[in-house]
Amino acid sequence: MLALNNVEVIYNDVILVLKGMSLEVPQGKIVALLGSNGAGKSTTLKAISGLLKPEDGEVTDGEILFEGEKIHELEAANVVRRGIFQVMEGRRVFEHLDVEQNLIAGSYTRSDRQNVRQDIDVVYEYFPRLKERRRQTAGYLSGGEQQMLAIGRALMARPKLMMLDEPSLGLAPLLVREIFSIIRRINQEQGTTILLVEQNARIALDVADYAYIMENGRIVLTGEPAQLRDNADVREFYLGLNEVGTRKSYRDVKHYKRRKRWLS
């Protein structure tokens, strides 16, 4: 459905951030994109959704294909019209609008306006808490409620592909689990394909069908969640697990070596 082939992104004409990024998202699946801070995960999503321009970033090489067509030169509005919707990092709700107006903003590109009302109810079904707060100013919602609103707002566009940038950011573990189970439900019930960017590797690997790990602007490891969970590097760097009984000094050396291999 979505394919990135050797994509290169440069900010401000000089800062090379994506260095030959390739990735594939098959229809109907949940694909996780993991990586540490500054790896280029958000940049990848923005390159897909056409949101690089306001930040003075540019796709300078490679191609981004959606349903077989090149999309990396489209305006953001046209990318949304094609069916790709990005839920940006940090929630980014419209603070001065109330909950329902935020949802209406999400439906901006819809041409079948008669169904918007009905879709608001669908969102309320997934997130009953939003319904209770429908007239409340979004800026005063709790962080978890704002994340629900950000996802609900994306649903309003009825996207084919929903891209979520760190939906677990700053939320309590229980709420993270709740939100991820809803993401799974959206994927199954609405048939929405999902590209999920996460720092929280554990939970991302739980819901994903397939995962990519990126470092320093390119993919370094891919596989099904089960494979990745067994991978020693992933266990150590992303799941925070150590092999029992390994001596510290030895581990540090290995750590360094693995790092080096990934970065080269």
């Binding site: 321009k53 509005a77 990318v79 940006m88 001065h96 609008l97 209406i104 903003a105 005063y140």
Partner: protein, 293 residues
């Protein structure tokens, strides 16, 4: 009592005109956080252009007015294309500086074509006196109040319920997030500027109808935009209307009850402006910044 009523009516009608100009200002601010220093100058364009089309070209007033409105819409689109679009992603302050430039440009063009001399405006609005509880007010002054009232309702509904209105407020809140919704920020800016120009042009036509056409008088009304919006709140539609009416009334009373030699009337709005800035920096109805950690 008679004098009081007369001053009140004059104040309200003047205030309604201030409110019309301020409405456009608020619209632009709401959509883009840009303080438009050229708002008052749209008034000049409206008044002089209509004068030119009707008195100098000889078109019927309805056609002249229609053309002026179309020009206002185009002006909004041109400003977006040539001025705002290249500045997307730049700090708001550069856009604000550009509106100062636009202000000088519009003024110079008006002076270049028509000069600063006064002229007799072809008053086409009905001006027969209307008697209100003993005070006499020409009919055209009431048109300003009617128009302000209608626009207040229309804009309020527009921002609360319509898709474009909500998109406009969303854009003001967070431009990049608005883009991610598929909202075309360019289109939103063009709409905001066009509507702002149209309301100001209409106000300009009404002003010229009520008084005679004078560069000084029309620009001084344009200057009222700042005290009005600072009083009402930069981003509040009802604030623009109420701010306009309050400034209009205060000015009228001050003018009527103090010796005219002191000319307090002219400085008064700016005294109000400074006081308001000290006690209520967001204005009477302004949106407060939402600070959450």
């Amino acid at each position: 009592m008679d004098k009081f009523l007369q001053l009140t009516l004059t104040g309200l009608t003047n205030g309604a005109i201030f409110a019309l100009v301020a409405l456009g200002f608020v619209l632009i601010y709401k959509a883009s956080d840009v303080i438009n220093f050229a708002q008052g100058d749209f008034l000049l364009v409206g008044a002089y252009l209509t004068f030119g089309l009707i008195s100098q070209v000889g078109l019927p007033w309805s056609v002249g007015m229609l053309i002026a409105i179309v020009v206002a819409v185009l002006l909004g689109i041109v400003v977006e294309r040539l001025v705002l679009r290249p500045l997307i992603g730049e700090p708001i302050i550069s856009v604000i500086m550009v509106t100062i430039g636009l202000s000088s440009l519009l003024r110079s063009v008006v002076i270049w074509i028509w000069g600063t001399m006064g002229a007799q405006f072809p008053s086409f609005l009905p001006s027969q006196p209307i008697n209100v509880f003993g005070a006499v007010v020409p009919a055209d002054r009431f048109i300003a109040i009617g128009l302000a009232a209608v626009l207040l309702v229309v804009f309020t509904l527009f921002f609360r319920y319509s898709r474009e209105g909500i998109a406009m407020r969303a854009t003001a809140d967070d431009q990049q997030a608005a883009l991610s919704m598929g909202i075309s920020v360019q289109k939103i800016f063009a709409i905001a500027w066009s509507i702002a120009a149209v309301t100001a042009v209409l106000a300009g036509i009404i002003v010229a109808n009520i008084t005679e056409l004078s560069f000084f008088a029309v620009s001084s009304i344009g200057l009222h935009v700042f005290p009005v919006v600072i009083l009402g709140g930069l981003d509040s539609i009802p604030g623009a209307i109420i701010g306009g009416l309050i400034i209009g009334l205060l000015e009228s009373y001050v003018g009527g009850y103090t010796p005219s030699a002191l000319a307090l009337r002219t400085v008064f709005p700016f005294i109000v402006l400074i006081i308001i800035l000290m006690i209520k920096p967001y204005g009477l109805f302004g949106e407060e910044r939402i600070e959450r950690v």
